[in-house]
């Protein structure tokens, strides 16, 4: 029997990336960075504005070429043969910030099918992928024949995400997929991305500023500070370093701060609470425990 395919991992090894080389504006966005995104999980990539998150996203799918160092996809340098870089872009999908401005086809369905349509797949396979991706991204069939320009901002965002999901990339990188959406829209998009990952068991990297969201939707978190990894681990590993987070321009979820306040007020709740759900369970547990005596 064929062994289950292991999810792809992707890494930067000693990568430096400089902008505007040879001009007075030359600037290193990343300097000698090494990091690895584990295969088969969702990693939340977090950091202040200018910490290098978006540069990393573009390096991962070969949109930018490192000035020095290597990008390793399953251990192989993606720039080994620069002529084959477009094949890398099929394997590593990238959803930009505000991708809704990048729709261009006449219908929603054709927009989602555009990526897989360029991969030399059978029509049957394309249809299957498009239907799958639309489902995960929350694009309902009643929208399929509409023009993307008739849709609301939130709907366009879903179509753009579906278009990249339909390419079935081994690694999917999304830059702030929920930015600017209302709370329900955020939950639907992030929940859809997670359901997609759980089914495909592929590797997903979500760039986000929201500690609250990443505490719920990411398996591991990576915190960047001025182009370097300042911390990597589970929500617990990250959020117990409050001072350090503050220094790199991030903060703990509101609910985590609240739980600490409860501790100070003499309610012996456990630390390590990062979501409203777990806070609810913990408060109930501690009250019941005291009631039992």
């Amino acid at each position: 029997m064929e062994e289950a395919k292991k999810a792809a991992s992707i890494a930067l090894r000693d990568v430096t990336y400089r902008y505007s080389i040879g001009t007075p504006f030359e600037k290193a966005a990343l300097e000698n960075v090494s990091l690895e995104f584990e295969g088969g999980i969702i990693t939340g990539l977090m950091g202040h504005t200018g910490s290098g998150k978006s540069t990393i996203a573009q390096l991962l799918n070969g949109l930018l070429k490192p000035t020095e160092g290597q990008v390793l996809l399953d251990g192989r340098d993606i720039w080994e043969d620069p002529k084959k870089i477009s094949a890398v872009r099929f394997r590593v999908g990238l959803v930009f910030q505000y991708p809704e401005y990048q729709l261009f086809e006449e219908t929603v369905l054709r927009d989602i099918a555009y990526g897989p349509g360029n991969m030399g797949l059978s029509q049957e396979e394309i249809n299957r992928r498009v239907a799958d991706a639309a489902r995960f991204a929350g694009v309902t069939p009643d929208l399929f024949e509409k023009s993307p320009f008739e849709l609301s901002g939130g709907q366009k965002r879903r179509v753009a995400i579906a278009g990249v999901m339909a390419m079935d990339p081994e690694i999917l990188v999304l830059d702030e997929p929920a930015a600017g959406l209302d709370p329900r829209g955020r939950k639907e998009i992030l929940g859809g991305i997670r359901a997609y990952q759980r089914e495909k068991k592929n590797t997903i990297i979500i760039i986000s500023h929201s500690m609250e969201d990443m505490a719920v939707y990411a398996d591991k978190l990576m915190v960047l500070d001025h182009g370097h990894v300042s911390r990597y681990g589970t929500a617990h590993d990250i959020f117990c370093h409050a001072e350090e987070l503050k220094q790199v321009g991030l903060s703990r979820p509101q609910i985590t701060k609240f739980i600490m306040e409860l501790q100070k007020a003499g309610i012996p709740v456990e630390s390590g609470i990062y979501t409203v759900d777990s806070a609810y369970r913990e408060v109930l547990r501690i009250f019941k425990e005291k009631e039992r005596g």
């Binding site: 930015a179 329900r184 500690m211 991030l250 806070a279 609810y280």
Partner: protein, 292 residues
């Protein structure tokens, strides 16, 4: 005379689609914004928040209904272009993206851009620019290039550019949406200070419930209509109603509400701030056992 800086009466606005059908976005809206107040506007995507902002700023013209800015009816056909220009100066607007609101290569030149276009004398411009920089705590960055600034700093410069035109009111259209937590905190702190110290009326359009908590009043839009309009305390105590229109409540409010409705905790429905919630939970906790 009313003390309203913005006053709308049966305001209606529709976008026209390609085939000529009208898509109503603002439906018969009536409200007043008191001068000097801090009002948050919430609503799902497509609820009409940004359209409302553009009507108040006179980027868009209402289809019907009345809109008065500083007591002047902006739909009055006798208004000259100069009148409109003057009204528009009173209502400044700060947008979402920190990267496309700055035009100059030096921070202080960017701030001077508005007053220069108003034909203000150079000495007065200098004074206003310095004052605006102080108001947003960015004086030390006067000679920097905007490209060297963080997102939060860029937004503060965009705000300074508005302040230099001496507005009565500033509308923030999701101005913190693209910022990291520190940038958001900087901008929110600046907004509150302008409201408190300079008496500038603030209309804050946002998807962040914790930002709306800080306002005097919260207006919730739903499908072009005013769905709720009350103090933050009264609005956020209606958790189910807010969730029914795609919104949320701050995390602590959410937790306290679940403890009250699902687990039967004796907590008032209108707990708003963390400190209140800590106090009541601590009281309940320490009472356990004491009663038996």
């Amino acid at each position: 005379m009313s003390n309203y800086i913005i006053e709308a009466e049966n305001l209606c606005f529709s976008y026209k689609s390609e085939d000529g059908t009208a898509l109503p976005v603002i439906k018969n809206l009536t409200f007043g914004i008191e001068a000097g107040s801090f009002v948050a506007i919430l609503g799902h995507n497509g609820s009409g928040k940004s359209t409302l902002a553009k009507l108040c700023n006179m980027i868009l013209t209402p289809d019907s209904g009345k809109l008065r800015v500083g007591g002047v009816d902006v739909t009055d056909e006798n208004l000259t272009e100069d009148d409109i220009y003057n009204l528009r100066r009173k209502i400044g607007m700060v947008f979402q993206n920190p990267d496309n609101q700055l035009v100059a290569t030096i921070v202080e030149e960017d701030i001077a851009f508005g007053p220069e276009n108003l034909g203000i004398a150079p000495g007065e411009i200098r004074r206003r620019v310095d004052d605006a920089l102080r108001a947003v705590n960015m004086t030390e960055f006067a000679r920097h290039s905007p490209s060297q600034l963080s997102g939060g700093q860029k937004q503060r410069i965009a705000i300074a550019g508005i302040i230099a035109m001496l507005p009565d009111c500033i509308i923030f259209d999701e101005s913190t949406a693209m910022l990291d937590p520190i940038g958001r905190a900087e901008v929110m702190e600046t907004i509150e200070r302008l409201n408190r110290e300079k008496g500038i009326t603030v209309l804050l359009i946002t998807h962040y419930m914790d930002e709306a908590l800080r306002a005097d009043r919260v207006m919730v839009m739903n499908r072009g209509e005013l769905f709720l309009d009350d103090t933050p305390r009264r609005v956020f105590s209606q958790v189910d109603k807010l969730k029914s229109v795609g919104l949320d409540v701050p995390q602590v409010t959410d937790l306290v509400n679940r403890l009250r409705t699902e687990a039967g905790f004796a907590i008032p429905a209108d707990i708003l701030h963390s400190a209140e919630a800590v106090e009541i939970l601590a009281k309940l906790y320490h009472e356990i056992g004491g009663k038996h």
